[in-house]
């Protein structure tokens, strides 16, 4: 029995004429016509776009600790259905992934499930408390081989500790990913501080609380010659700072979430916490600037900040609700809506922001690779013209907190291949 998969008649990066792509032994063995094993699995790909499998630098898989909302298995399924072949699981689990035992557990569970490469993100500080460096070296050298460290959910606010983390990281060749939020400026904050929060009485989360940390961290990273990654950029001002820092040669990269590209604080008027997220939804003007910055490469990539939450943590009053929203299965559609349909990016550009750049930032050697013969067959096959209606209960995540409930969105993932194996096909896990 062969393990061949024939992707028949796809357009690579949505460019040129349709071609057949033959996959075997985990790699792309041929692009073009030729012999195919009789038992090869055929993916009919007429009208579809073949891209390198997506890489998500920012997910919350909730295992260990909140398996009632997501597990590595359910989150992996969501990832595979969303076109992802690699995801990075944030450290804010219970217990926190601040040691090699937890990161290795996450790594091994991901391998066992086998639907997507699950890479644990290690905590920067012990218990995410922002007081003392976690054992970055031990985690980096563990089986999981941690390459990204973040206290996401909390900011490494102490400038001295952040400096030390950046300095220390240079010996390990790892990235410090910062959740940029000056905690003193966001005490009790609930929503973007502006005209809408003023009217609706939400305690405000000012843009400057993000921007001041990003500016500070860029300076610290430049000084330490370290690599900084800015999580979930949400404001126009942050985009300006990134542009400035990159022009100076600072080794900084940045991600934006799908929801910060599409949704705005106009959603606040319902007080429905399905729209509560940290950093908060900003203004229309911010979404415009973020889209532009992503198109220009000032923001490197899209990351979901996929954050499952139980119904009781969302179906409550706003302040009691937990921040975060599902994202893995809707990311491609939101990118299609905000970046492709607007003409800001072609599919080559989508490959860059969803796969190539995040793989480079994370240092993954076998993801985000060119679609050429001999390369690893980590692939996403996308139907760019199809549309679908989002239903939270139908998503693979255990939790159902999608802000896109009932919305009709363009862009459907037809199939995902991880090392030549089909992990999802026509919206079903294989």
């Amino acid at each position: 029995m062969s393990d061949q998969v024939l992707i028949k008649g796809a357009r690579l990066y949505g460019e040129g004429d349709p071609v057949d792509v033959l996959v075997a032994d985990g790699v792309i063995t041929r692009i073009g016509e030729g012999d195919v094993a009789e038992d090869a699995v055929v993916l009919e790909a007429a009208g579809k776009v073949l891209l390198p499998g997506f890489v998500d630098l920012h997910t919350h898989l909730r295992e260990p600790g909140r398996e009632d909302t997501e597990t590595i298995a359910s989150g992996s399924a969501a990832a595979a259905l969303g076109g992802y072949t690699a995801v990075f699981a944030m450290a804010n689990t219970d217990p926190v992934a601040d040691n090699s035992v937890v990161v290795d557990h996450v790594w091994r569970r991901g391998r066992e499930v086998g639907l997507v490469d699950v890479h644990p993100v290690g905590a920067v500080t012990v218990g995410l408390k922002g007081e003392k460096l976690a054992e970055l070296g031990t985690m980096a050298k563990s089986a999981a081989g941690v390459r990204i460290f973040s206290d996401d959910g909390a900011c490494v606010a102490d400038p001295l500790l952040m400096r030390r983390a950046l300095e220390y990281s240079t010996a390990l060749d790892v990235v410090i990913a910062q959740h940029a939020e000056e905690p003193r400026l966001t005490i009790g904050a609930q929503a973007h501080e502006g005209a809408r929060s003023a009217r609706l009485g939400y305690p405000g989360w000012p843009a400057s609380a993000e921007e001041s940390i990003v500016a500070r961290d860029c300076l610290l990273a430049e000084y330490a010659k370290a690599r900084l990654h800015v999580c979930h950029v949400s404001t126009a001002g942050t985009a300006d700072i990134l542009r400035w820092a990159k022009a100076r040669g600072t080794r900084v990269s940045a991600e934006v979430t799908p929801h910060h590209l599409l949704l705005t604080d106009e959603r606040l008027s319902t007080y429905d916490p399905v729209n509560k997220v940290n950093p908060p939804l900003r203004t229309e003007a911010d979404t415009e600037v973020l889209r532009q910055a992503l198109a220009e490469g000032v923001i490197d990539c899209v990351a979901t900040d996929h954050a499952p939450h139980a119904p009781q943590d969302k179906d409550c009053e706003w302040t009691a609700a937990r921040p975060g929203m599902l994202g893995l299965q809707t990311a491609l559609s939101i990118v299609t809506e905000t970046m492709v349909r607007t003409g800001l990016l072609d599919w080559r550009g989508v490959a860059r922001i969803m796969s190539e750049r995040p793989a480079e930032i994370a240092g993954l050697p076998d993801h985000g690779r060119p679609l050429i013969e001999g390369e690893p067959a980590n692939l996403a096959l996308v139907d760019p013209d199809a549309e679908w209606t989002v239903r939270g209960r139908e998503l693979a995540s255990i939790a159902a907190n999608t802000p896109y409930e009932g919305m009709r969105l363009p862009g459907v993932v037809s199939a995902t291949l991880l090392r030549g194996r089909i992990t999802s096909r026509k919206g079903k896990i294989e």
Partner: protein
């Protein structure tokens, strides 16, 4: 289903109808020994308060009782959000137990609106008695009733709201209601106590109280909460009082007809001088009296409906 959740977007005709009814009720009950109307006999009204309150809860309770409704008071602790019953379950429980109306006060902005969503299928009416830093619509209605009584009309009048606008649901409700009824509103506060984005509200902003006083028809002083004094919003109580307090000297800059309002509880000597609070210009006790009639009127319009009496 009609609720009273906010004055932002409230139909001015409804607001005026409530004020007219409150006026009628006041005159009907004036001088009566037994101040009880049978209008809401057999209806059950629950006050559900997640924050301490004396004046608002008592005012609603008296309003309900004078309308012959059965009034039940529930005090809940919001500090045990993770341990205790959720707001949603509490609301559904009260509704299932027979509440025709839930009057809710809660520290979260939007809590009353969320409640109205959860109770949409049940027919239970929700009245917002203060949600976080969002709104307190019956306070604005009683303030409007008081202003109308004192000034004869609200349209074209100039009203200053002075103090901690940032954290004040009273201010937000007054801003929208006064604007809807045709008044000009000027906010006077230090920049630290104004919300970012204030320019989106139908107001003008000033930091000079003395400059505003001569043109005012009414001045509404907001309470300065103790935690603001220690929270670095302004340098000291003394400086605040000097800049934004309504002293006797400052009161002299007001036109003779101008009304002084305060939603209470007052900090005498801080935002308002004792002599000003007790002066003929002050309508502070009338506000409390009108509060009962306005809340009776709100209950009437939401629970009794048109055509019934």
């Amino acid at each position: 289903m009609k609720h009273l959740l906010a004055t932002d977007g409230l139909d001015p005709a409804f607001a005026t109808a409530v004020l007219d009814t409150a006026d009628e009720l006041k005159h009907t009950l004036l001088g009566r020994e037994v101040r009880k109307l049978p209008t809401l006999r057999g209806r059950t009204v629950v006050t559900l308060f997640y924050e301490n309150s004396t004046r608002t809860r008592v005012s609603f309770e008296i309003a309900g009782k004078w309308m012959s409704a059965d009034v039940i008071n529930v005090s809940a602790s919001s500090s045990s959000v993770n341990k205790g019953e959720s707001l949603r379950d509490t609301a559904l429980t009260l509704s299932a137990a027979g509440a025709d109306c839930v009057i809710v006060r809660h520290p979260a902005s939007g809590a009353a609106q969320r409640l109205s969503g959860w109770l949409a299928e049940t027919g239970t009416v929700v009245i917002n008695a203060g949600d976080g830093t969002h709104e307190h619509p019956t306070q604005a209605l009683l303030d409007a009733a008081t202003l109308r009584e004192r000034l004869g009309s609200i349209e074209g009048r100039r009203v200053a709201i002075v103090g901690d606008v940032l954290h004040s649901r009273v201010a937000r409700s007054n801003i929208h209601l006064l604007a809807a009824l045709g008044a000009e509103v000027v906010l006077v506060a230090p920049p630290t106590l104004l919300p970012a984005g204030v320019e989106g509200l139908p107001v003008t902003v000033s930091h000079e109280l003395d400059a505003e006083l001569p043109a005012l028809d009414a001045i509404m002083m907001l309470r300065v909460q103790a935690e603001r004094m220690t929270g670095g919003f302004f340098p000291s109580a003394r400086e605040y009082s000097i800049s934004y307090g309504l002293s006797e000297a400052r009161q002299k800059l007001l036109p003779e007809h101008a009304v002084v309002l305060h939603p209470g509880p007052m900090l005498r000597g801080m935002e308002i001088a004792s002599a000003v609070a007790d002066s003929p210009a002050s309508a502070i006790t009338e506000q409390v009296r009108n509060g009962v009639h306005v809340r009776m009127a709100v209950l009437y319009h939401l629970l009794a409906g048109e055509g019934e009496s």
